[in-house]
Amino acid sequence: MTKLAYYPGCSLHSTAKELDSSFDGTMAKLEVDLAEIPGWQCCGNSAGHSANRLLAAALPANELVKVKDDMKLDAVAVPCAACYNRFQSANHEVSDEAMAADIAQVVGRPYDGGVKVLNLVDVYHDQVGLAALEAKVVKPFQGLKVASYYGCLLTRPPKVTLAEDPEYPVHMDAVVEAIGCTPVDWDSKTDCCGAGLALCEQDVVDKLVKGIITNARERGAEAIACACPLCQINLDGRQGEIKKTDGAWVDMPILYLSQMVGHALGVSDKQLGLKKAMVDVARVLA
């Protein structure tokens, strides 16, 4: 049994509880033991790095040093794409000596990097591996056409995320394929959905969301797979608002990758939190 440190982050305890529970369900089935970082703090999110660059690096560094020195583990699973990005940034920032010294002063002890940070796709694709994943599938999808959506923070900037390909990554496609889906080629895979602006610039956000979902639909997708709590709530939640002005709008189910994997592995619907979706997802999981 592999053991990974686990950093849920704020969203997985609120707007994205189903990402937490579905991820957990899949890890149990795939025999990965998750150890939550004790007393974890907010990673600082976008508000952190647009106010104080040092604190924004120190907050995730503080979690990473806990993983390394206190938990004695060498990898941490961070399913939220925004948190993942901050954690990878911290790993990147400590490669600069002066910055590392400042970070150590804020954190109270040094962190010199070395803890591997895994996002949702990495956990299934790299940690578990496609063959091991496929071997555990009990309820394969029957070729459901899926647009795998990365959004911004999983791959950008590549010097920080070390992504396979920042413009057209394909690991998520391989994961959905391993559970019986058919990935579609599409254009908006790494486009930004504008979720950060959802509380104040709804017109902007609705246009971005509409563009992304429309592209997925035109490319034949029957569902969109997400690996970010901000993307999921934004793509799922805004559709109800878009419908108010666009009578012809056709709903697109938006699922977390962990919900899709969990479904194929036989995790219960309750644990997958399928009822939390605004746009019904049951029809694509039948």
Binding site: S14, G39, L55, V106, G196, G240
Partner: protein, 220 residues
Amino acid sequence: MEMEEEVTQTLSGALAARIRSGSGENPYKCYQCKKCSTGCPVAQFADVHPAQIMRAVQLGDEAMSVDSRFIWLCTGCEACTTRCPQGIDVAAIMDELRIIARQDGRVRRDMPFARILDLNYKSFKRWGRLYELELVSLDLLKRPKAALGYTSLGIKMMAKGKISLLPTIGDRKQMKRMARAAERIEARRRVEAKAAAAGKAPGASGASAAGGTPKGGGAS
């Protein structure tokens, strides 16, 4: 002959120097290929686009950069940073412009994202974790009309159990200590950087086109 509007532009390196000191990025590496702008998801909704901001920063034009709507529409998606052929972290420069706007007391009041970012920062600092319901409530107190924009989705989210009524709390003491230490170090550095930048270009604080500079950005 028609009267031509007189446009004067005083060049200043002060803004670029502050940006360089705060973010480590050199704005003068930009040669205006505009890849940042073509890949930007929000440029179409803004007053200026990222390449224009980069140009304004090079010229020391604070009105067009620090006071732009754009810096408060940037989602931080990093497409600009990823695609810049000069390897400039353009998104970090946008962050830096926000920080400068706060430091110089010139945050635009008509851009609600500015306040949401502040509320967000205060929230995780207070609780150790982000308390979304508090953030939204405090925002609504200041901006009740905004309710029209997001309460309908908010209510649906509540019904789905997607919004926690109470905060989940991190290690508050540790958060307080770390935030205080980081703020102290950064504040000291930024005051020094601002003074040094102003010293390099005396009198040229916020050069701007056609009388557009609202407030001096020089050292106090």
